[in-house]
Symmetry: C2
Subunit: 309 residues, 2 copies
Amino acid sequence: MGLKEFGMRCDWIAVDWGTSNLRCWAVDKDGRSEAFAESDRGMARLDAYEFESALLELINEWLPASGAVEIVICGMAGARGGWIEAPYRSAPCAPMSAEMAMSPVTRDQRLHVTIVPGIKTARPKHDVMRGEEVQIAGYLADYPLDNGVLCLPGTHTKWVHVKNNEIISFRTFMSGELFDLISRHSVLRRCIDTSQWNNGEFEQSVDRIFSRPEFLAGDLFSIRAESLLGELPPDLTAARLSGLLVGAELAASKNYWFGHTPIILGAERTAQLYQSALAKLGIEARLFNASASTLRGLAKFRQLQGNTP
Amino acid sequence: MGLKEFGMRCDWIAVDWGTSNLRCWAVDKDGRSEAFAESDRGMARLDAYEFESALLELINEWLPASGAVEIVICGMAGARGGWIEAPYRSAPCAPMSAEMAMSPVTRDQRLHVTIVPGIKTARPKHDVMRGEEVQIAGYLADYPLDNGVLCLPGTHTKWVHVKNNEIISFRTFMSGELFDLISRHSVLRRCIDTSQWNNGEFEQSVDRIFSRPEFLAGDLFSIRAESLLGELPPDLTAARLSGLLVGAELAASKNYWFGHTPIILGAERTAQLYQSALAKLGIEARLFNASASTLRGLAKFRQLQGNTP
């Protein structure tokens, strides 16, 4: 990584601390990412006192011998059971504000840590987000939205309605986690082959469940029965399961995306999956890189705090 | 158990060998169960060569010093990956026939084992059952049905359409397994308290998802969000999740139970849950003990084979 010479250019450190992963960027004075490091020490695996060492493990080489470095963190590190609980701001609201951020005390005096607060909503149902608000802010910093819809796919996919650059409402869907649970831990694990993919089968399953959401419960076991009876080739199984779950999600989130051109902020493969599912339903969606919007959002948060012009 | 004196009265042995459990009954000449034994050595935990010893562990004391005892087995012992694969008979058909049973070779010459075949169907979708056909046969032996519907709730609930005492079609739902997976292994595990139950919340959730099955995908994460925000008391969480899943199942199985008085063959608590869910939708259902119907069905199978008058 050549960090000896690099160290001088690390102006601050951006951190996305999720449930399963920890990702850190060293950022220079011009806002460019100069180094990246990640580990699987996500919030779910750590007790509160372990966060500082998990962070140091990745960023130690970036730190100066003396003097402090600002570290801005978004995501589950601020959840209950995380490093320190950061409050939720209430939607409708701007995706970020300088208020309500939290700073855990660190043993290493070089670390000046700030955790971005999450957002909660009470309508249409109670819901929460942590980390996605930063991605949304990062996207809106470059592409303001009068009235639009963002989709942030992942383990827990968020659908978000934005008006005048404020988050009006949002809803979370567990489709990603359900896919993992069912394909790895249920009776279907014996027949689901996640190494193969068939997009036609995926789109057909999306369409079926979107039109008839009540078929979901029965169609899940059909994957096993059809496999046992030689009626479902292994290369279709993962796409079938994924299509059933995404189809159910799109049926439930229709009031978000209908009549809009959703913007999907996600990792490439997952984002393309959602784009293809929406296309099957006649909806055009645009893709935008999630990591880029996270980094842009965290930089924006520093501006809001007045730490940078 | 006092088996020395009991041993003389063990005419044959009935076995229900499921995915997770093994249950055995010693049956006397009059068809009465004289002893019962069970273990957690279900099919999922055993390799083919381990089935004989798992069985002997439970029934050894019931066996005579010499001479053979007939052992009739239903359930997953006959599945692919079980003791020996028994074929599937094709519905529409009577729940049992003397044909296509399988007999694994045993090292212990006292064991004369027969495994009842399963049933498959191609309509409305491909599906399979192993074990439930014996319960159905046992019920029908005493309560013939011209045209009716049976519900066999469990890890994998079956809804079965019966006409003239034959199985016309059936469908499997994974609601029980999904409840286990979600409440024990998903992000919801932190907030679901399975030690408490609220039947009002259960019925309300059944009703909500039955009317709007597309709400399921979003309502799952709401359990976590509402819990985090203090909007869902812990004593409602398990009933909420169960209600959402059973509501989705009842939406998907409506063509089975609508216009019928379903007969629920199940363990007491689960059967009552389904009865209460159906009552909420205006459907009266009758309960019948599942173990009794299994035992009766296995005895009936012996008759079909001509081993008993």
